[in-house]
Amino acid sequence: MSTLSIATAPGFARPVDDAQAVFRAVLQALSRPGMFVCLPALPPSLARDEMTQGMLALALALCDQDSPLWLDSAADSPQTRHHLRFHCASPFAAAPEQAAFAFISRPESMPRLSAFHAGRADFPDRSATLVIRVDCSAEAPESEVMEVTGPGVKGNERGIWQAFRLGGLPAWFWTDWRDNQALYPLGVDVIFVESANSGQGAPSVRILGLPRTARVRKAVNAKEGSLCM
């Protein structure tokens, strides 16, 4: 009898509405680089929390049978794979460069950005999207205030930069980001997902988008911002 040994958890409570709301939040995050956006809906968490609720929400909203997934070794487990296969029907990529979406739970040991697919000149939109779990608390170790400018940053044409702070990224990350940004119109896009719940009471998870057009530097004196209610 084919009883599955690995338990599956439910996905979104309202699959269509919740997935659309999360998709809208992702659009908002990628069109306002450097601003935190709250995820409006979260699926139940899995027993192992390396793949956080926020990462699961993005997976359920974005992935389908045409988008190969790559999970880093921390996020990867038979249970997670079964869960994503069940709800998204996505195939799994053997290597980072074959993935349409990469879910990275331990950024400190993630592959370099150049390891992911940056798209091709005729199809720049087929590049990978990286979902990276970060620590956004102010006291996060090694968190450095960075600032971003580019399309979507208010006042970018007047040289205004938007500040943000992310913790837990590897030392090479922003150097690699500069190389990635220089590839435009090719290059990967990144969605950072907060690892902890930020608010008391109702759980809420914030995301921050960095499209390949975003230029990032160490902060000089810009203000941090959030679109969260």
Partner: protein
């Protein structure tokens, strides 16, 4: 045919009212949650030319699918191990999909399987083959044999 496949087919082709009745009878003995609520959508049905040649898309078909996780309540207050039930039902029939998934899960609970096989699956299968038989008989009465003259061109 595989046992589970045969059972799932019987549940999918069953009358919704019959499933409802059986579920009401057993309702006190189990509880379930949805892993995937009943959802209707189009499924592409594929065929093969000559049954073994090139694949082609035959057409789309409306299907409702549902997945539940079910546990039986035991006398001693402990629940049985959970089983997962799946269903795919033709048309937009959310309640039918839910019931079929519940019974698929129940049939995987070892102490229930034989009882249910006898009390539910066998009657459903019998009813179905009777209906098919009736249909075939009705059709057979309208049968016409055509005789044509061979004109010899094909020879």
């Amino acid at each position: 045919m595989l046992q589970r496949k045969r059972r799932m087919a019987a549940l999918a082709l069953a009358d919704e009212a019959a499933l409802e009745e059986a579920a009401t009878r057993l309702a006190a003995s189990f509880s379930y949650t949805f892993l995937r609520r009943p959802e209707a959508g189009l499924l592409m049905v594929e065929g093969r030319a000559g049954n073994s040649g090139q694949r082609f898309n035959l057409g789309e078909m409306l299907v409702t699918r549902c997945v539940v996780r079910l546990q039986q309540k035991r006398q001693n207050g402990q629940d049985s191990a959970a089983t997962e039930g799946y269903s795919f039902i033709q048309g937009n029939r959310p309640r039918h999909a839910e019931l079929a998934a519940v019974f698929d899960a129940l049939l995987q609970q070892e102490d229930q399987a034989e009882d249910l096989e006898r009390s539910l699956i066998e009657p459903l299968a019998a009813k179905r083959s009777e209906a098919l038989q009736k249909g075939a008989e009705k059709t057979a009465t309208t049968r016409v044999d055509f005789f044509t003259l061979v004109r010899g061109e094909d020879a």
